[in-house]
């Protein structure tokens, strides 16, 4: 059974499951580096998914849908930017409110605009095409998983080293990290803290929107109510586990993707669907327990650890 389970198809589903979470988590880690506690990734992804599907349906073009998702994501995250960065509101309350607003709003607009409930599936919705990288896609095992993805999918993986370089080798990255570590000090050095934080939040909105687009136009081609199903929260945990470090976050996302992919496989092999549904969550919880000593200041932000 072992080689039945752990084969190329599993790797493929791991990668597919990880991509949306990775995109959102990268946005989350940028916010964390800027000192902004961003837990509205879930709602932002959902808005992204909805706008991606709607725009694709109306325009017949998947990439316009992606643009729509970006716009939707950034609009959603602007609530956090204004409410927390400018107005000093509590980011936890704002984040939760945004998540609930997204569920309500998308659930409300679905029947209002498209006159249906539950799942919006239609041939007029254009999904994202997958592109093969020649030669590399023919590699055994990894070829299909890693080199036959949508453009958004490739972007997700490319972003990991790019963000690493940005954070640890560029001046912008240094300043961003300083803003998060000691905003008062950054301020006295002439670094505009508010600008950096706004940009970080906007970026996370953009990326979470993209994540939603990948979810709704890439992995499947449909919109279902509440389709993010907690992935945005997993992204938050991934940032925590990965200590806001691009490669750590990548590892955490792959872990979750692996648990989810494995779960589907086990279902196919006769395991109870409930056990495999719970698997990704329990796996994440276990990872948290094992890695508990290595938490970053997210712990301080959740505030109750003194």
């Amino acid at each position: 059974m072992f080689d039945q389970l752990f084969d190329a198809a599993l790797l493929d589903s791991v990668v597919r499951a990880s991509v949306p979470i990775l995109l959102a988590a990268i946005g989350g880690l940028i916010c964390e580096r800027a000192g902004v506690f961003q837990i509205s990734l879930e709602g932002t992804m959902l808005v992204g998914a909805f706008t991606a599907v709607s725009v694709s349906y109306v325009s017949g073009n998947a990439y316009l849908g992606v643009l729509g998702a970006i716009a939707g994501g950034m609009a959603t995250s602007s609530l956090l930017a204004v409410g927390h960065v400018s107005r000093k509101g509590d980011p936890i309350v704002i984040g939760i409110a945004i998540n609930l607003l997204a569920v309500g709003l998308t659930g409300f607009l679905l029947p209002q605009f498209f006159d249906l409930r539950g799942v919006f599936r239609d041939p007029a919705i254009v999904g994202l095409e997958k592109y093969e990288i020649p030669l590399l896609a023919d590699l055994p095992v990894v070829g299909n998983a890693l080199f036959d993805m949508t453009l958004v999918g490739y972007l997700a993986f490319v972003l990991v080293p790019v963000v690493w370089i940005m954070l640890f080798r560029t001046a912008v990255g240094l300043r961003l990290r300083g803003v998060g570590e000691n905003p008062a000090a950054a301020h006295t050095r002439g670094v505009p803290v508010t600008t950096y934080q706004y940009t970080a939040v906007a970026t996370s909105g953009l990326l979470a929107g993209l994540a939603g687009a990948q979810l709704a136009l890439g992995n499947v081609v449909q919109f279902a109510e509440n389709m993010t199903a907690g992935r945005g929260w997993i992204a938050v945990v991934a940032v925590l586990l990965g200590r806001a470090h691009p490669f750590g976050v990548l590892a955490a996302c792959l872990l979750f993707g692996f648990a989810e992919g494995l779960g589907f496989r086990l279902q196919g092999n006769g395991f109870a669907v409930q056990a495999t549904d719970a698997l990704p969550w329990v796996a994440t919880l276990l990872a948290l327990v094992i890695a508990r000593r290595r938490f970053i200041r997210l712990v301080d932000l959740t505030g109750r650890m003194a």
Binding site: G83, K88, L100, L240, M305
Partner: protein, 379 residues
């Protein structure tokens, strides 16, 4: 969260009522009704008639009964969340605690012999134990392993759904039913309705009593004082001798047990059986959290806000039936209220009690440059 002033006498109550008119919550409500009116307009419906339908749905016919029946679990969940929240702990796992409580109650009611009232009582106890146990997992995670409850409690919701679903499907299911559900609980173990309460479920009475009990506990007892201060500055309360680990465990345990009992009420009082997915999809946990936030964690405002949101939701359903506007608008309304309050668009909302001062950069730098300056500047 606003620090409660000791209310002594009628004058304080009158002052408090007078401030409701211009209070930030009222203004946030007005703002969100306006915003939602715009949203309704966009979908081509007259907002005034939609709101009229909402009002009609909540106030006439079966409205009041439905509102009370809906308010009970919302208020219950809000209370459950408020107990740890007061000490600064965000429990996002109330949904899971409610679900395991519901199953525990269903199984007890089905299998325990005895007179109805007795079985109901034991079922509630079982539910409360199950909910508490589910809440203790993240509590111990935080006290022993430093895992933030905010995250671990949330992560346990899906496993709660999965576990109960599994147990019902493979062990406790009703073989004759088409969906995954337990058999119906015996008639005698159903919670009666009260005629004088428009036919609403009797659970409303103990919930009311719970509101009073919690309000008294918070305002009048030493442990209540301790939890208040913990929510404002945990290090200070530790310094003052508060046993933080014990407080965490007890508050999560009590919160979880209340959530479990809400689950019991839903099973024994509403559906009469534990249906897989029913409790999870109800949204009471998130609504309860919203109510808790709007009510600034205080028991009596939770009663008021919970009833109001229940009315909103019932009215929303009616509005959907008659005006064709999706009931989700009620959810949108609720979220916008909290958002406007949290974004401090409307002045007056306090930040959830954190121990760090508001990150006003200028003040921060001044205060750090010369501690004496803060004395004079008092930013």
């Amino acid at each position: 969260m606003r620090v409660p002033e000791p209310s002594v006498g009628a004058r304080a109550i009158r002052d408090r009522l007078a401030s409701v008119g211009t209070s930030p919550v009222t203004m946030a409500l007005v703002l969100s009704f306006l915003l939602c009116a715009v949203i309704i307009l966009v979908t081509g419906v007259n907002p005034l008639s939609a709101y009229a339908e909402m009002w009609r749905g909540a106030s006439s016919g079966s409205g009041p009964r439905t509102v009370i029946d809906r308010a009970v679990p919302i208020i219950g969940m809000a209370l459950a969340i408020s107990i740890p929240f007061r000490t600064g702990i965000v429990n996002l796992g109330a949904e899971g605690q409610m679900i395991v409580g519901g199953l525990a109650a269903a199984l007890t009611a089905i299998h325990l012999p005895g007179p109805g009232a007795f079985v109901i009582g034991v079922s509630f106890l079982a539910a409360s134990a199950a909910g508490a146990a589910w809440a203790l997992l993240p509590a111990i995670g935080q006290t022993a392993l430093q895992l933030p409850i905010l995250i671990s409690s949330l992560l346990l919701n899906a496993p709660a759904r999965a576990l109960t679903s599994y147990l019902v499907k493979y062990y406790f299911g009703d073989p004759t039913a088409t969906s995954t559900t337990t058999v119906a609980v015996p008639e005698a173990t159903r919670i009666p309705t009260l005629g004088w309460l428009s036919g609403a479920s009797a659970t409303a009475v103990p919930v009311l009593a719970l509101v009073v009990a919690i309000a008294l506990f918070n305002g009048r007892t030493a442990p209540g004082y301790q939890s208040l201060v913990s929510g404002i500055n945990l290090r200070f309360s530790r310094y003052g001798g508060v046993a933080v680990a014990r407080q965490t465990i007890v508050s999560m345990g009590v919160g979880g047990s209340i959530a479990g009992m809400v689950g019991a009420h839903l099973v024994l009082g509403q559906s009469g059986r534990f249906v897989d997915g029913d409790l999870a999809g109800s949204g009471f946990a998130w609504t309860g959290l919203l109510v808790c936030l709007i009510a600034a964690n205080r028991a009596v405002p939770i009663l008021v806000a919970g009833s109001f949101f229940a009315a909103l939701q019932v009215g929303g359903l009616a509005m959907q039936r008659s005006a064709g506007v999706s009931w989700q608008l009620a959810q949108v309304l609720q979220a916008i209220v909290i958002l406007t309050l949290a974004m401090r668009v409307v002045p007056g909302m306090r930040r959830r009690g954190s121990s760090e001062p508001t990150p006003n950069l200028e003040a921060d730098v001044i205060g750090q440059i010369a501690p004496g300056a803060a004395d004079v500047v008092k930013v």
